[in-house]
Symmetry: C2
């Protein structure tokens, strides 16, 4: 089959690899219907150490179950399934606590003998624990929205949920990428009345307004902080969702959060240490939360509104291409000419 | 009157200063019945820049109202009052949200024209917002326990409350100082069944067992982390309360907390930045919370059990001395020969 590999910064290739096969009785083989490129994929695309052997890449996909191990009971051959960006056994104590990203026996794609999702097919361990079947045809126009449940929608939702967004909460979202926009949608679904989106790409912030943002701040850094504070009587917002992962975004979050408030991070941090001392987080009693979203925990609750069309998170896809042209998709996302690129194997 | 001033590392003196007087109609003058030395006072005691003018110090006291401005209505002359370690107006939006430490017009003692609490008397701004009257005589044996509501008990309670300790929560407390022991007591009051106290002073950890600790870990650093993990099936505890403020304690907290758990800091951080990246807090979805406790918010709810004697937080005082000998108290706490020193002006 064809699969996407990354060999170093900017070096994305689609190559022939052996078809995945059932190894354990709890495995499924899923033929990928749609996959996509994630903002997270751009981190190795910028900075991975060149490796002549390359690495399989991609962690978001929906597909059709093609083959099953003998111990899989909750999905059937031929069903359309959503694959979260982490595979998990579904039965350990962390999974039962809805923290599938800390599953005792789970892992990210391209670990534990799995491949990446930007491929024609994927071996899925713990199919019962990992996959969520959906009663939808692979030709359905809902496919892009369902694909967001694989990562970005659940990730935005996690950010809002961990920050305990409610009707009483004012929210700032830093980052107008797909996760930031999904955080806007999620905060609105949780009842937030005031959602300030910080971003500078008008097509994206327009989509943010459609998803529920009430204010757009295009400035960055200290100017951006000042703008948020001016919008909130000098206080900042109860919640700041940091959906970027770079230090300037963290610093912006510290500057924009209200005393007693919460910074919720879902951008994968590209730094090891950050200001957390008396002057930054401690004196104003700021809580720092977030992490990789256990999206598996959220799919069932977010699914109905996707299926009935009342939310359309799939609008974050503004470009589509064939698997063999995926390198163009990476380039477009890196250049910010595309928000999120849908891939058709 | 006599008041304690600090002039530099190890340089504590009791000097004569003018008696405090009413300046604003919302002020009260409180004659101090008992004050004490705090672990926090040891930070300037170790590292303040020498200053020939010195600074008034002390932030915990109970006393008798001696004089009142014309606009004070909730306390009367002659009443015994508890003074929180922050003065606050009680009516701004932060005070009404129980975040008195972020009061729009409040401050710490020895700012805003106030003196420190380690003195014979203190001018208290916003007496209605700040002071809590208690129907107790100044000769009552309850005075030491009431004095803990000025800071350490409320601070330990804040740590446990911000971490959302409940009957389902396992807890580690790092630090066997007064705040750590009060965090043990508070976690037990909130229902925690398993409370691991990390400390190496047997008299203190014995008191911790009396307050509700179920396990004592005397090891530090990686050995301490290993010990906590061994006690919890390898996982660490849902909550780690960090009641020290130094980087090794923070690192110990990161090592001892369970995935999905909470680190709650009430030791004033003696560092500006700390590890919060993918490997430390992000990947395991750890929440970092805490800050200076709005103890004013907790006094009323913690008071009944103190008044009826069902809790005795005053047991943290293991030495008592006259105000003029307070420098001995600082030395004893610095040398760890005293846990917490009660001062009699």
């Amino acid at each position: 089959m064809r699969a996407t590999y990354i060999y170093g910064p900017g070096d994305i290739r689609v190559i022939d690899v052996p078809d995945p096969t059932i190894r354990n009785s709890t495995d499924a083989i899923v033929r990928v219907v749609r996959t996509c490129v994630c903002g997270t994929d751009l981190h190795p695309y910028h900075s991975m150490k060149p490796d002549p052997e390359g690495s399989s890449i991609g962690h978001e996909f929906v597909g059709i179950v093609e083959d099953l191990g003998s111990d899989v009971h909750t999905v059937k051959k031929g069903e359309l399934v959503i694959a979260p960006f982490v595979w998990s056994d579904g039965i350990c104590d962390f999974c039962r606590e809805d923290l599938h990203t800390s599953c005792r026996f789970g892992g990210y794609w391209n670990t534990g003998g799995t491949g990446g999702g930007q491929a024609e097919a994927v071996r899925v361990p713990f199919a019962d624990g990992t996959l969520v079947p959906v009663p939808v045809e692979e030709t359905s126009p809902l496919i892009p929205s369902l694909l967001t449940l694989s990562d970005v929608y659940g990730t935005g939702y996690h950010a809002a949920l961990k920050a305990r967004v409610s009707t009483d909460t004012t929210v700032t979202v830093i980052g107008d990428g797909a996760v930031g926009l999904m955080a806007v949608l999620s905060a609105a679904q949780l009842g937030a009345q005031r959602i300030i989106l910080m971003g500078r790409h008008k097509d994206r912030t327009d989509l943010g307004l459609e998803f529920g943002a009430t204010d757009i701040v295009t400035e960055r850094g200290q100017e951006g902080i000042t703008a948020v504070r001016e919008l909130t009587g000098g206080d900042g917002t109860h919640v700041v969702i940091e959906a970027v992962g770079h230090m300037p975004a963290y610093e912006q979050a510290v500057g924009a959060v209200r005393p007693g408030g919460v910074i919720s991070r879902v951008g994968v941090p590209q730094y090891k240490s950050a200001p957390v001392g008396f002057g930054s987080l401690f004196a104003p009693n700021i809580t720092l939360t977030g992490g990789p979203a256990p999206v598996r925990a959220y799919i069932e609750s977010l699914l109905p509104a996707v299926l009935d069309g009342s939310v359309e998170p799939g609008k974050v896809f503004d470009r589509e291409t064939e698997l063999d042209n995926i390198a163009d998709g990476y380039r477009a996302m890196d250049a910010r000419t595309a928000l999120k690129v849908l891939i058709r194997p």
